[in-house]
């Protein structure tokens, strides 16, 4: 494990457990090896095989919590917290705060009432710092982005902090629409240029609406991902 060969380590710890099935240190190391070798589901299955419903010791609780968070199974994480007998209230609060940050549902709540359902009494200053960052993140509404782009092409992307893409959208729509206008004003309704550029302008305009919606959605996803990664860096050990 010191050389970070976790897959090989998992095989070795499995062999140790074959010789001594009740070696708790080997069990813990096997779970950790599974988690670090990108096989957390295997680790979770082993844990449930060994301890289907019994209360977990502190070491196993911490490993199980990390496994559940790595998998992204927050219901399983809740059951681990319920079963962890040795974790103090502050420790549980720290982990629950971490899970709340990683789950990412906070972005759908209004900023002022963006609080978890439990009391935040974390002892970890880094986690509290990340928690305070969520207060500064404003969710971007995809509907608002589309509405803005309806009025001015590209405005929805600018609203979602993609100002360069917004300007490009405006340029594409404006250029093709202007060319269409030129064609129609010069040759009337029979202008081929007018119809071609009119079609292009319509396509770019509709795509700009779609792109604005996508841009706002991606902004929200990226913000929750950033917070999730920062929380993982604090909570998940290597």
């Amino acid at each position: 494990m010191q050389s970070h060969e976790y897959q090989l380590a998992a095989a070795e710890w499995d062999r140790v457990l074959f010789l001594n099935p009740f070696d708790t240190m080997a069990r813990l190391n096997l779970l950790k090896s599974f988690r670090l070798s990108d096989k957390p589901v295997e680790g979770w299955k082993k844990l449930n095989l060994w301890y289907p419903s019994a209360p977990l010791t502190k070491a196993f609780s911490l490993e199980a919590a990390q496994l559940a968070l790595t998998i992204g199974d927050f219901a399983a994480f809740g059951s681990v917290m319920d079963r962890s007998a040795d974790l103090s209230g502050a420790e549980k609060s720290t982990w629950k705060l971490g899970a709340w940050l990683m789950q990412g549902d906070w972005i759908n709540q209004p900023v002022k009432s963006r609080n978890p359902s439990f009391t935040v009494a974390s002892m970890n200053p880094q986690l509290l710092d990340i928690y305070s960052k969520t207060k500064d993140i404003h969710r971007k509404s995809p509907a608002a982005a589309v509405a803005l782009s309806c009025l001015v092409p590209g405005m929805g992307k600018i609203y979602s902090h993609d100002w360069k893409d917004g300007l490009m959208s405006l340029l594409f729509v404006a250029t093709s629409a202007f060319q269409s206008y030129r064609g129609f004003s010069k040759y009337g309704i029979s202008s081929v240029t007018g119809w071609i550029f009119g079609g292009l302008a319509t396509g770019f305009y509709t795509a700009n609406l779609f792109g604005s919606w996508k841009s706002a959605t991606l902004y929200n996803v990226n913000q929750t991902d950033r917070i999730r990664h920062e929380t993982e860096g604090v909570l998940i050990t290597h």
Binding site: D162, K164, T206, A207, G211, K214
Partner: protein
């Protein structure tokens, strides 16, 4: 006989000459599969799909573009997968909405927003995969 006709006949007859290939089939076969494709190469097929008119037009246009136009140029798209592959895959995955996704991708294909994308290591281009549009 004009010289244009002579050259045309020469080219056409040369095209149907089977006795003087630059390489024979065994030579070519010995070099087949020498290089494996790089991992993560674009997953697309040039097969023309006549299931319906829309698919027929799309797959034919894509195959024509890939064989006759795109192949004559180097890598020009700033993204991985390239805009044409992205368009094909997003329309396959998302239907009509994929058309607008593809046009939106064309407007973003300029390389002025490098901070938005990760780098796709094998191709060293911006990674912008096709995603399922939630309705």
């Amino acid at each position: 006989m004009k010289w244009k006709t002579i050259i045309s006949i020469f080219i056409i007859s040369a095209a149907f000459t089977f006795n003087a290939p630059a390489q024979k089939a065994p030579d070519i076969n010995s070099f087949r599969n020498l290089f494996k494709p790089a991992p993560g190469r674009p997953e697309y097929s040039l097969k023309i799909d006549p299931k319906n008119e829309f698919r027929l037009i799309l797959t034919s246009g894509f195959a024509f573009y890939k064989v006759f136009i795109s192949s004559q140029d180097g890598v020009r798209c700033t993204f991985y997968p390239s805009c044409s592959v992205y368009a094909l895959n997003t329309i396959k995955m998302n239907g009509i909405a994929g058309i607008f996704d593809a046009i939106d991708r064309l407007t973003r294909c300029n390389g002025i927003s490098p901070e938005k994308y990760h780098i796709h290591e094998p191709t060293q281009r911006f990674y912008d995969p096709v995603t399922k549009i939630n309705r």
